[in-house]
Amino acid sequence: MEKHGTIVYLEDVTVNFDGFQALRGVNFYVDHGELRALIGPNGAGKTTLLDTICGKVKPERGRIVFGAMTDLTRLEEHEIAALGVGRKFQTPAVFKNLTLLENLMLSLPHRRNIFSTLFGSLTPQQTDRIASTLEILGLLEKAHQKAGSLSHGEMQWLEIGMVMIQDPQLFLLDEPVAGMTGGEREKTGELLKRMAQDHAVLVVEHDMEFVRQTAQKVTVLHEGMVLCEGSVERVQGDPRVIEVYLGRGHPVDAHDSRP
């Protein structure tokens, strides 16, 4: 397996939750600049996989190598994040009592130590970046509102914005279009494609339409193992995949079919 160009590489990763094996010896890798979709039925282990990469869950076995040789299993969440892994969660987790501006300020990729936090101030470039990010998200006029006052979709975007401004090498997105309208989905898709231009993006999604529009490559997880990998067409045509989705709604449904 080619490791050159790989941003993250999971090797034989196993995760156990009180007897339930969420991931079983998973081998998985994402390349630089790739936009990968991770799909699979509920309970397949998609969120868990993201969790292991960003450090929320530690695997019992296996290695997770970031970049050339950093083993993520030994690091804490904030160290992994500082290395260049950004995570967007299923339920939007933004700082509701802070303004949008402040939320983004915190996400800027600056030094995270106490001294800088106490004495550092916003440079003009950083202010510009925040402004332009807000503009891309279409939230510029709400910059000074508290994040808690946003609608659900807007909060999702804010979170995506926070991850974007973090400028990580690898984006991990967990169901970014959940609960969005059609128009919002399209916009989100554009955002992701833009992000994928010079970063790696790994998206967990159920909405096949969205996946088809945005993803370059798709990995199907089932019961903690990689079932199939490839382009959207190949995956959709794979009999194993079809079998696994049988009874839960065919993956080629045009409408949103959330199992």
Partner: protein, 390 residues
């Protein structure tokens, strides 16, 4: 809610209050209008307000509920108290000052750890740094292990209890249950001289204003954002790359230092420090001061500390048996009825007015579903519990 107007109003109020404290009251005392007794009492209240400031910093802003702040207060008070004790003690057999209680306990040589306290500078430094250090150690042992909000609260309470038990023992050579008493002078100035007390008051007021300004600068800086973020969504901040534990330790240590400062100012003004000021109940009271005044506002902490302590002085003189009941009622009331405290009272009343109107005149549809879900375990925001709006 026009933010700018209320901000300006607050600034004005703060300036007025500061002027009153630093200039007004001592002036009244010097003119003979305000009695020495009351000035001294106020000095005591102000030192407790510094303690409350620290508490607001960790609880109101960082979301750490510590039920053991009285420990750090005690460390600070005992530090300065030890120096004052030595200053007013007679010379012992070895030519060194030695406190009476030690002689009564048949200890005739000043213990080693007491010796540096003969110097005021050391005592003062110790009152600031020792609590900060202890706080940092406790924080290190707990925050890095992600010991959650509730467990942390319980632990600090247990530690406060244990420390109180220890300080009551004579083996610690800190005066046991009687504590350190009978301070006579500081730096040569007699503590019964009103001029000295006025000076101490002034120092306390200045320290309070200084601490307040420092804390305000802190919470308005990016640090303040980080602390608020820790309070609201700790995990999220981790995934943004922030070493959350380090920030918590920092915040906790700062609060510890503030508590120590408060203790250092308290001891000479009150003239005595005993283990009853360390322990579980005093620690809980600090929380109530901040909660009553208004969490997360800094000013609220000062208002709450001064207000409740003043109330206590008045009420325990008249109805000593009822004070625990009043205090208990305050605990309950502040959480259930006035979660935003005194400072937030206008908004609270406004909100009640709106609810009344809505309930009387409109039917409310189901609002947007609670987006964050019910949050178990870690302390949540300062919203009143009955409101689901926004």
């Amino acid at each position: 809610m026009s933010a700018a107007r209320s901000w300006k109003r607050r600034l004005l109020a703060e300036i007025m209050l500061g002027a009153l404290l630093i200039i007004g009251l001592p002036l009244l005392n010097a003119l003979g209008i305000l009695s020495d007794y009351y000035l001294n009492l106020f000095g005591k209240y102000l030192s407790l307000a510094i303690l409350a400031l620290g508490m607001d910093l960790i609880w109101g802003y960082t979301g750490i509920l510590s039920l053991g702040q009285a420990i750090f207060f005690g460390l600070g008070a005992y530090s300065v108290g030890m120096h004052l004790m030595l200053e007013s003690s007679g010379k012992g057999v070895y030519g060194e000052p030695i406190p009476d209680f030690m002689i009564w306990n048949r200890v005739f040589e000043l213990p080693l750890f007491w010796k540096p306290y003969q110097h005021l500078f050391f005592a003062f430094l110790s009152s600031l740094l020792l609590p900060a250090l202890v706080a940092a150690v406790i924080g290190f042992l707990t925050f890095r292990r992600r010991v959650g909000g509730t467990y942390f609260a319980i632990l600090t309470q247990a530690i406060a209890y244990a420390v109180w038990l220890m300080f009551n023992r004579n083996e610690l050579k800190l005066g046991g249950t009687n504590g350190l008493t009978d301070f006579k002078s500081i730096m040569g100035f007699s503590l019964s001289d009103p001029g000295t007390l006025r000076g101490l008051y002034l120092v306390t007021a200045l320290c309070l204003v200084g601490s307040f300004l420092c804390c305000r600068w802190l919470v308005r800086s990016k640090m303040g954002l980080v602390l608020t973020a820790i309070r609201d969504q700790e995990q999220r901040l981790r995934f943004l790359g922030y070493p959350v534990a380090t920030y918590k330790i920092f915040s906790f240590a700062v609060a510890g230092a503030l508590a120590g400062l408060a203790g250092a100012l308290y001891a000479p003004q009150v003239g005595i420090i005993t283990p009853s000021q360390i322990g579980v109940l005093p620690s809980l009271e600090i929380v109530v001061w901040v909660a009553t005044g208004g969490r997360g506002t800094l000013v609220g902490a000062i208002v709450g500390a001064v207000g409740i302590n003043a109330a206590r002085s008045v009420l325990t003189a008249r109805y000593p048996e009822w004070w625990p009941i009043i205090l208990g009622g305050l605990f309950v009331g502040v959480v259930i009825v006035f979660p935003e405290g005194v400072i937030g009272l206008p908004q609270q009343l406004g909100r009640w007015g709106r609810w009344m109107r809505v309930w009387l005149f409109e039917r409310r549809g189901a609002g947007p579903g609670s987006v964050g879900g019910s949050q178990r375990g870690i302390e949540t925001s300062k919203r009143p519990m009955l409101s689901e709006e926004d």
